[in-house]
């Protein structure tokens, strides 16, 4: 049988040796992400801006120019019209102008232009108030996730690990958001779910490394921290790459074979997996170096735990 190994048996990379460069790059990236978020902004979908979206399919191929001309007469809103797939057209009217009256008018225009053979594949309407509420829900869910994770890691490890974990998590979320500000891919409700999931995935990865660091701390009581961290990250490297690879591939399958609706979600996840892997190797452990770990507290505790289990 064909056997292979993604990472060779024993690695000995000096990850901590490059930690200053890595931390600088990550910090610069986070700053850029925040700056771009406020200057360039996200391309918010109608889930958040409120608005109207209609996806239609007709038996005969439609000329997009005809649709455009027919809808030019809509008194309110500026529709974006986009053609994709075979004879599918997406009409989008974002913003507050898109109310129920506009929607009714849009239906009438589409019916007039394309007859009754039109197939409505998807119609979405989000009122401006609901959009506002959905933003708040997303922000709240993010904050509570952070608190939940912080509390759990604090409980299982030491507070230094909790704080570091949250920084690594914020790093990954920033990177994902940076990706969306740069590409201007649409940011909608399922993308928010993906960003939160990136948070969950990233912390999962980081916890595995932390776990090993704790174990190594117990084993080598006198070894200097950078060397000790290097050993821990190298020991878990094979697992980190293996798991990231498989999650990445699973998401890639979704991108290749999934529908248009889920694309934003998939992009966010793919970016998140790459960045999450990077951060658990190059960001989390180096930050822990600066966290003033008290080894004498961690080591006995870990021993007691091991004895118990």
């Amino acid at each position: 049988m064909l056997r292979f190994r993604l990472v060779k048996e024993k690695t000995n990379f000096d990850f901590m040796g490059v930690h200053k460069i890595a931390l600088f790059l990550s910090f610069a990236m986070m700053v850029l992400s925040v700056v771009l978020l406020f200057t360039r902004g996200l391309n918010l979908g109608i889930d958040f801006t409120g608005g109207l979206l209609m996806e239609i399919k007709t038996p005969a191929a439609i000329h997009i120019t005809d649709v455009r001309r027919a809808l030019a007469g809509l008194s309110t809103g500026t529709p974006t019209i986009q053609e994709f797939g075979d004879s599918s057209v997406m009409i989008k009217i974002p913003g507050k102008e898109a109310d129920q009256a506009t929607q009714k008018k849009l239906y009438e225009e589409v019916k007039k232009l394309l007859g009754t053979d039109v197939e409505y594949r998807r119609v979405e309407y989000v009122g401006p108030q609901v959009g506002q509420e959905l933003i708040m829900v997303g922000v709240k869910a993010f904050v509570y996730s952070m608190i939940g994770i912080l509390a759990y890691i604090w409980f299982r490890f030491e507070w230094q690990f909790g704080v570091t974990g949250c920084i690594a998590l914020a790093h990954d979320v920033c990177a994902t958001i940076l990706f969306f500000t740069l590409t201007q891919f649409e940011f909608d409700l399922s993308t928010v779910a993906a960003v939160l999931l990136v948070a969950g995935y990233s912390i999962n990865d980081t916890v595995v490394v932390f776990d090993r660091i704790r174990e190594t701390l117990r084993k080598y009581k006198k070894m200097p921290l950078p060397e000790l961290f290097n050993i821990s990250v190298n020991q878990t490297l094979s697992r980190t790459i293996m798991t990231s690879m498989m999650t990445f591939i699973a998401m890639l399958a979704l991108l290749l074979f999934g529908t248009e609706v889920i694309k934003g979600f998939t992009y966010a996840m793919l970016v998140g997996i790459i960045v999450g892997t990077y951060s658990s190797i190059f960001v989390a452990s180096p930050i822990l170096l600066y966290m003033n770990l008290r080894r004498e507290v961690i080591a006995p505790k870990a021993e007691a735990e091991l004895a118990k289990g």
Partner: protein, 520 residues
Amino acid sequence: MLHIEKWKIIFILLLTVLGVLYAAPNVMSPQAKTWLVDHMPSWLPSSTVNLGLDLQGGSHLLLEADTKTVISDRLDSMVDAARTEMRKQNIGYTDIGTVRNGVTFKLRNPAQDHDAAYKIARGLEQKADIRIGDDGLTEVTLGDDAIKEINTQIVNQSIEIVRRRIDETGTKEPVIQRQGTDRIVVQLPGVDDPEQVKALLGRTAKMTFHLVDMEATTAELSPGSRKLPMREKNGGSVIIKKRAVINGDLLVDSQPTFEQGAPVVSFRFNAIGAKRFCDVTKENVGKPFAIVLDDEVISAPVIRDAICGGSGVISGNFTVKEAHDLSLLLRAGALPAPLNVVEERSVGPTLGSDSVASGKVAAMAALGFVFLLMLGSYGLFGMFANIALFLNMIFIFALLSILQATLTLPGIAGIILTIGIAVDANVLIYERIREELRNGRTVLAAVDSGYRLALATIVDSNLTTLIVAIILFSFGSGPVKGFAVAMSIGIVTSLFSAIMLTRLMVIAWLRKTRPVTLSI
């Protein structure tokens, strides 16, 4: 390591069998399922996963009851009532009007009229807070509790009416639920063009019968009259007496029919309505009266004779569809408050089945990739993990069926993500076994400590992800929620399959072959 209690083995195998049993109905043809329900004992599982509206096609509407209008209407009528009562009892007052959630006026002789005014105020609203100052300034306000109660009542009534209207359209298995304080969720499976439903729900359908004010001129309206637009005549209007002689809630039936070839709507009153209609028509022969629907005069015929049979027809130049819809609305009853659509998500049936199909392909592809990668990396142990992964998929569907959770498109994405995450536990264990072997341990010792040492890490990493999933579930709405459900279930089942099941397989293999070296 080789030792594992018998009851544990039985327990693990039992759970596995149950998982397969509960997942099985999902892959059966509809015929096979009906056969199963008819011929097999009822304890055998037969429920399948609920497909969300985005997968089976359908319409999701979020309606908001305009309770503010209702409350301001109620305050207006309280003002009217107060005015009438005080005139009747010769109580002097000035500055009557509405304030926030209440009515206010000023008594001219507070000392003399205090008690009478208090009584009138109490009569306006049982639960109101009443304050009469020494200077005669009176405030009758509804407290927060009273407002809340009114809101609850409005929404509950609205849900009832919405249900009746939707039942009349023949939609199968609609879901109508309250959300928050003043919102109603309506889910209509199979309805891909919700415009018709929205047209039905968008009208309060409050029907009243009024006398027409013959004396009033357009320029001068008496306080008891109002001008309403006429439906038939374009731009015309009719001045009617404000007080309704009969309300639509006294109707018991309404049907679309034809009269002289034109579509009309017939109606029938209950006993009280019939009596009142008889009296009103008897007293007003020769005069026009107005049938008003949602502040629009549908028709204003002249009464030719007293109508005492308790039924009549409304003619108003209807189309067949209009007559049909109007009779439906009258049958179902009026909404206590206007409902506004604040969110709508409709998916056509073909997009739904396209999503399911592409989701299946994506899941298969993801499974295939992960299969190969695990097999190539860990050989036989990879195969064990693959079997566990396959069973894990079955368990996810079993749990979704048992919990009757709804599978949505983001839910499918969640399951595909779990494929990647589920094998993580095995990767952790196997990498650990490799390490222990490198450290010179025997096969048995390495496998043993591999499972033992990896366990804490697995629990830690999965619990953190589960925390995120649960928070997503409690905050999320719609798509996010569906995703969180699938994700949480996936994490729980993967812990079972990746740890317990593979362990069982590994032990069975070790017992049988007793290997000295291990290729992992």
